[in-house]
């Protein structure tokens, strides 16, 4: 790695003031498993001048339950979430998602805040030494459209830019399905509105904004949630398609549903059509199949990723059946 300055922040305010001072030239580091890889490969046209370490900020790595919500500090590691009794009891989809992310070592390092803010894994974007100056680097075009796009978006590119790189997070769809809220240093954002496609960024966060807490509502009663992941390898792999669902039942029938796919679109993709297809109905194999079909009804796959449509359909079907206990 090239040289850079390194600051340990001791409070959120201090980290924010460092970001204000450095602007685009500083990056945050928490678990480090994403940012250090990016720096080692020098994938970006600019190299960060400074890293601001968030791990030294006290009080951002705890899991608690109060006022009908789980409160998870942004620095809580994925393994802490995966093994937390509170998360497993009240937000099983999130625990399962954390449990299926990367490898055990990386789960001991990577944080939930970092997991939702991580950068895209598109192989053109990630190619070493900024070989492909693509749209996400304020460059000319998306190389995946005519290139090898087997792991790219099946629901079209980003509206503003035309980038087809998918969002790679496992915990993001779980947080969207569970209707979580992301608390930052300056505001609270619904998980659903948190993700955005911008050059060098995957979220709506301002350059000097830091995620501090995740709040997951814990509805009383009959809400069931599930997370499923399809990847080439069981471990150390990013999803080809993953799916999280939360379904609330009333007299055996679906009262409310939130289904979110990820790694199929430039941001986590909420399958609203699938939700509509099951509301008010009793879940069975045929209805779940119907929901899967509805979820991919708007799919516009590229040349090499047509298989992902079938995978996404099946993921939604299985997630719905899992929530129904089948």
């Amino acid at each position: 790695m090239k040289e850079f300055k390194h600051f340990n922040a001791y409070s959120v305010d201090e980290a924010v003031s460092l970001l204000k001072r450095y602007g685009d030239r500083a990056c945050l580091i928490a678990g480090g498993t994403d940012i250090l890889g990016k720096m080692k490969d020098a994938i970006l046209p600019t190299y960060p001048e400074a890293l601001v370490n968030l791990k030294t900020i006290p009080g951002l790595s705890s899991i608690s339950k109060s006022n009908g919500a789980l409160k998870i500090g942004a620095l809580t590691t994925l393994s802490e979430i995966a093994h937390s009794d509170l998360v497993r009891a009240h937000a099983p989809a999130l625990a399962q998602a954390a449990c299926r992310t990367a490898s055990p070592h990386i789960r001991n390092m990577g944080t939930i805040g970092g997991n939702i803010c991580q950068d895209i894994r598109c192989w053109y974007y990630r190619n070493q030494n900024n070989r492909f100056s693509c749209l996400r680097k304020k460059g000319g075009r998306c190389y995946a459209i005519k290139g090898d796009n087997r792991y790219h978006s099946i629901f079209g590119g980003s509206v503003s830019g035309g980038c087809f790189a998918v969002h790679p997070s496992d915990t993001a769809p779980a947080l969207v399905a569970l209707d979580a809220k992301i608390v930052t240093s300056s505001r609270t954002i619904d998980a659903e509105n948190f993700f955005e496609v911008k050059p060098i960024r995957t979220t709506v966060l301002a350059p000097d904004e830091i995620v501090t807490e995740i709040q997951v509502p814990t509805p009383a009663g009959t809400a069931k949630s599930a997370f499923l992941k399809f990847a080439l390898r069981q471990s150390i792999d990013f999803p080809i398609v993953n799916c999280a669902a939360m379904i609330t039942f009333k007299d055996d029938k679906v009262d409310a549903a939130r289904i979110c796919l990820n790694a199929v679109h430039v941001i986590p993709y909420r399958a609203v059509q699938a939700e509509k297809a099951i509301i008010g109905q009793k879940i069975n194999e045929a209805l779940a199949e119907e929901a899967g079909k509805a979820a991919v009804s708007g799919a516009k796959p590229l040349e090499h990723n047509k298989y992902m449509v079938a995978v996404a359909k099946t993921m939604v079907k299985r997630a719905v059946l899992t929530c129904a206990g089948r």
Binding site: E3, E14, D41, P104, I106, M109, S235
Partner: protein, 201 residues
């Protein structure tokens, strides 16, 4: 030229000031109660029960510090991207990847490497040799470190738990089945040792 006139640098956060008064005000306002500033890059850490006070550069990884600077060459670097597990070390009781950790962020950490596990006479080493849980041997230290962390928290791991714990270690020679045998054997040995120790008391 303008750079030169700024010579008062905050020892906590690196912000620069033209005059001493400005720096003083900033330190009182922003860093009140933060304790004394440490020198830039100064860290204290425990490696295999020995304490070290070191000065590190911001772009050193923990792996570089342990392997190249301290000379503990047991851990191996292969992918350098956090994808293979061969550089695994135990930091504060948890197996992590030393290639994806900055040395500057390891202040106060307790680190255990494969050398420390061998020096303690851990039965895992002998089990690995007897069961030949290696071929070329490059990934072995990473496996041993990860297995040690597993056995520290679980005295009788099942086959599934072993597979799950070792899911971040890659062996291109394909020695995977031998690790399960070696770890189960070690766990049994440790349980006998433990119960014998209790009996003696």
């Amino acid at each position: 030229m303008a750079e030169k006139s700024k010579k008062y640098v905050c020892p906590y956060c690196g912000e620069e000031f033209d005059a001493a008064e400005g720096l003083k005000g900033h330190v009182f306002k922003t860093h009140k109660g933060h304790g004394l500033p440490v020198s830039e890059g100064g860290i204290k850490l425990t490696v295999n029960k020995s304490e070290y006070t070191l000065k590190v550069k911001p772009n050193w990884t923990l792996y570089y510090l342990i392997h190249d600077v301290l000379g503990l060459t047991g851990s191996k670097q292969f992918c350098d991207r956090g994808a293979c597990g061969s550089c695994a070390m135990i930091v504060d009781g948890k197996p992590v990847l030393s290639c994806m950790m900055l040395a500057a962020e390891c202040d106060g950490k307790v680190i255990e490497t494969v050398e420390g596990i061998a020096a303690d006479g851990h039965p895992l080493i002998e089990s690995y040799v007897i069961n030949h849980a290696m071929q070329c041997g490059y990934c072995t230290p990473g496996f041993v470190v990860t297995s040690k962390a597993l056995l520290d928290g679980n005295s009788d791991p099942t086959e599934e738990e072993i597979i799950e714990a070792l899911a971040g270690n890659i062996c291109r020679c394909g020695t995977y089945p031998q690790h399960i045998i070696a770890i189960k054997e070690t766990a049994a040995k440790l349980r006998v040792e433990k119960s014998a120790g209790k009996g003696a008391k």
